[in-house]
């Protein structure tokens, strides 16, 4: 059962007080006080448990006006509504009481129904207002909350049509890490400090809000500050001086509001946030303007996301194969499976665009599985046709290792299509290994035990740890093309390619060089002892039918010999 709401009746006259109490006590718990001083004592005891005060304005000891002014000045009590009871014989008392913060008045003689209704509606009004107030301000920083900011920003812009405004927002890089390392109170102190700094900058020229976590959004007049990396670098430095949290890096996004565009405030904020996000991780870059490119990028991503499931069902994704050759003999000895998207309307889609998106949204696991299955089907088909059994490399994304029971799926495929697991080479990028070595070492180790071949892709493109290399369950080291290209540009004695080849061989790993683009590169790789080569100079990725022809030719040559 809900306890009754409490009403404090402050009235010096016993009869009037008893009457009020009897009117109210069917619906409320009535607390009584004979004068202002007593009433303050009751307030001190119950604080905001009291829903409303009914106050007689003329009383001994402490009159109603004094009481009212004390209550309204004390933040603990100020929100408790006060209804003043007056004599109904002149406006002056009523006006004076209302001007001192009374919510309403009731006259004598009392009209119970009117009193009950006024009391109920004022309590209701204050409770609603209190709720709105909670959302109005962010509890931590005291800035506006998101919803209230949207509303106020709209009004601000509308009221000042002659002025130009921008939406400026900020994100803190790795804020979760800050909370984790320095503790939540330190993170909170940092946020409060940022709120203060923003309030100083924006001042009367706009409004600030704390959306959530580390996101702040301000509406400010266009020419209050000059946006530049120098300016934001200064603000960033100021923020670093606030608390014990050091090396805080913020990214700002600016959306310049144009009256020509009819964009809702919510969207303006999204766009500013998008601009801030676009420079995430870029050292020395503090701010970015929102522009249409970013928006188009986002729209494009959305289009791809909308289409991807359907594309998979309709088999718009096609497996292409890039031949792999033995360096010494130039003999075809395998292939790497690459996915191509041929959309019925958009045509050929760049993997450089959709693969990173699928990696982000998780769809990559479905696509990878699709490719694995297609590759297994191809290998099976070639086996049926009596073609040479070569291995094919497929990509294993980092998400695959977490999302699915990888070993079961791959084992299942190999069994279904009657393939030796060694025919399937699994490529995992070097960066995946360095980010979560334990999990990946375990999973890949298990797959290797099942007989699958494990390749480290893109070796040399990121940080390489020789120590880790030693612990990894690996069969093949695949050298990144950019690494090869830059090493090739150096004189032989200065490069470290030979060292890497020797190291790999010492560890019993085969080395595959990707991205071979010239005869020169090919010869050099041969000299260095690279086992296998792959690249445009030798053969581009091709549809499976074309690759099958290569296989058939290969066997024909063999037969002739």
């Amino acid at each position: 059962m809900m306890s009754k709401k409490k009403i404090l009746v402050v009235e010096d006259n016993n009869i009037n007080r008893a009457m009020l109490a009897s009117i109210l006590d069917s619906q409320y718990e009535v607390l009584e006080a004979e004068n202002g001083q007593e009433a303050l004592d009751v307030l001190e005891q119950y604080k905001d448990e009291i829903s409303l005060i009914l106050l007689d304005i003329i009383m001994p000891v402490m009159d109603g006006y004094t009481f009212l002014s004390i209550v309204k000045e004390n933040p603990n009590y100020a929100s408790v509504p006060v209804i003043v009871t007056t004599q109904n014989d002149g406006e002056s008392d009523e006006v004076a009481a209302l001007s001192q913060g009374a919510a309403d008045f009731v006259g004598k003689p009392y009209k119970p129904q009117i009193i009950l209704h006024r009391v109920a509606s004022i309590i209701n009004l204050r409770e609603t207002a209190a709720m709105v107030n909670q959302f109005k301000y962010d509890r931590l920083t005291g800035l506006y909350g998101k919803e209230y900011f949207y509303k106020s920003a709209r009004e601000f812009i509308m009221k000042n049509p002659e002025k130009q405004y921008d939406i400026v927002c900020s994100d803190i890089e790795n804020f979760k890490l800050i909370n984790d390392v320095f503790g939540v109170p330190a993170g909170d102190a940092l946020l409060c400090g940022i709120a203060q700094i923003y309030t100083q900058y924006v001042n009367a020229h706009g409004i600030c809000s704390h959306f959530h976590a580390d996101q702040f959004v301000c509406l400010m007049e266009h020419d209050v500050v000059e946006y530049s990396d120098d300016f934001f670098a200064q603000v960033n430095a100021k923020i670093n001086g606030l608390t014990k949290v050091k090396n805080v890096s913020l990214k700002w996004g600016v959306y310049v509001i144009s009256s020509a565009e009819n964009v809702p405030v919510e969207q303006m904020c999204d766009r500013a946030l998008l601009a801030a996000r676009s420079i995430k991780g870029q050292y020395g870059k503090y701010f970015s303007y929102y522009d249409a490119t970013l928006r188009n990028q986002l729209l494009r991503n959305q289009e791809i996301t909308n289409e991807m499931e359907k594309a998979l069902l309709e088999e718009q994704f096609v497996v292409y194969l890039q031949p792999k050759y033995k360096t010494t003999t130039r003999e075809l000895c395998g292939a790497e499976a690459l996915v191509r998207w041929i959309h019925p309307e958009w045509g050929f889609q760049s993997p450089g665009e959709f693969i990173p998106l699928f990696e982000k949204n998780g769809f990559i696991t479905k696509l990878d599985q699709y490719v694995w299955k297609k590759v297994c089907m191809l290998l099976h088909e070639w086996d049926q046709k009596g073609l040479r059994s070569i291995p094919v490399s497929v990509n294993v994304s980092r998400a695959d290792i977490y999302n699915v029971n990888l070993a079961d799926i791959l084992k299942g495929l190999a069994e279904t299509y009657n393939l030796e697991p060694s025919r399937i080479h699994l490529e995992v990028t070097e960066s995946a290994y360095t980010e979560d070595p334990k999990q990946i070492i375990e999973t890949m180790g298990c797959l290797r035990d099942l007989g699958f071949m494990v390749e480290m892709d893109d070796f040399g493109s990121g940080y390489s740890s020789l120590n880790m290399l030693n612990q990894l369950p690996l069969d093949v080291l695949k050298l990144d093309m950019k690494f090869i290209q830059s090493e090739m540009a150096k004189p032989a004695e200065q490069g470290i390619l030979r060292f890497i080849m020797d190291l790999a061989h010492w560890m019993n790993l085969y080395v595959v060089a990707e991205g071979v683009e010239s005869r020169e590169q090919l010869e050099r790789l041969g000299e260095l002892g690279c086992d296998y080569v792959q690249g445009y100079y030798l053969a581009k990725p091709m549809p499976s039918a074309a690759f099958e022809q290569l296989l058939q030719q290969l066997d024909a040559i063999k037969d002739m010999e």
């Binding site: 009869i15 009897s22 004598k108």
Partner: protein, 123 residues
């Protein structure tokens, strides 16, 4: 309890609107009526007028007005009103003693009313 209504209206009160204020509860009315006789304001008004303390007289009369209004004691209420306004304006020319005397007379009637009501109700 129909006697209550008759007695009250014979006195000059408006039964319906007054008892409406007490949620129709005659027992509650009588309980508060009894408190009325313990109220100090009648005596305070008398002594304030005697001592020519007009501010105190106004405050007492003002309170009395509120209480009698609430109790629906219309004739006494009217008599009190007659003194409240000049006291509020503090014109210095009013014969307050005479006005107070009229209030006393009405007060006496109210005392009788109370006796009638309590006898009638068998209290």
């Amino acid at each position: 309890m129909s006697q209550f209504k008759e007695i009250f209206e014979a006195y000059g009160g408006d039964y319906d609107s007054t008892l409406g204020r007490f949620l129709g509860n005659e027992g509650m009315y009588l309980r508060l009526f009894k408190m009325f006789f313990q109220d100090e304001n009648m005596r305070l008004l008398g002594s304030a007028i005697e001592n020519q303390e007009w501010r105190a007289a106004f405050e007492a009369a003002h309170t009395l007005k509120g209480v009698t209004g609430n109790m629906g004691l219309a004739p006494l209420y009217d008599a009190v009103c007659n003194i409240v306004e000049p006291l509020r304006l503090d014109d210095g020319q009013t014969d307050y003693a005479a006005l107070y005397q009229m209030i006393q007379q009405e007060y006496e009637k109210v005392t009788q009313l109370y006796q009638q009501l309590t006898e009638g109700a068998g209290c």
